[in-house]
Amino acid sequence: TQLLEQSPQFLSIQEGENLTVYCNSSSVFSSLQWYRQEPGEGPVLLVTVVTGGEVKKLKRLTFQFGDARKDSSLHITAAQPGDTGLYLCAPDVGNFNKFYFGSGTKLNVKP
């Protein structure tokens, strides 16, 4: 069952550009996490959003949880090569801190 859709699958941009990636579902979630994964490493948690309509900022990254808690977006301002990686969204799908991961958006920021 396809629980989540992340888009776009791939994104290649120049340093300094802005971008937005999306995480969509037809299900309602109690919370959702965003991770970044670099090649050869495990995912690293960036943020957890809990409240519908919530906006969180982490330096140049802005995360938003949809009002209905079914979708989320990640906006990066003035992307840098260090932002390159796989961005994964992972909503909470049950008890005991269990999260389901999407397939991710692979971002490449060229210098």
């Binding site: 995912p43 005991f96 801190n97």
Partner: protein, 113 residues
């Protein structure tokens, strides 16, 4: 503070052989997870332990995969016998429990020929 340790980092085996992966979670973390990440996909949860008890193993292919967490600390994941489609990165993660953050290890990259 040391992170989640995994070994080996890479493993190449032939189909029908057996393989085992080891994970040492962050000290004091009660919850331990094993994920399988196939190329081009996100991590898929295989099994979740709370201390040395299994919380969820609904997506673990139990005919060939097994995992244990003796004494509630280190964990091993075994595949016997391996199939071509088991080629993936196997990630271990741990958390302090509840809604605490999951910390991932670097993973073991398995190639089954």
């Amino acid at each position: 503070e040391a992170g989640v340790a995994q070994s080996p980092r890479y493993k190449i085996i032939e189909k029908r052989q057996s393989v085992a992966f080891w994970c040492n979670p962050i000290s004091g973390h009660a919850t331990l997870y094993w994920y399988q990440q196939i190329l081009g996909q996100g991590p898929k949860l295989l099994i979740q332990f709370q201390n040395n008890g299994v919380v969820d193993d609904s997506q673990l292919p139990k005919d060939r995969f097994s995992a244990e967490r003796l004494k509630g600390v280190d964990s091993t994941l075994k595949i016997q016998p391996a199939k071509l489609e088991d080629s993936a990165v196997y990630l271990c993660a741990s958390s302090a429990g509840g809604q605490e953050t999951q910390y991932f290890g670097p993973g073991t990259r398995l190639l089954v020929l």
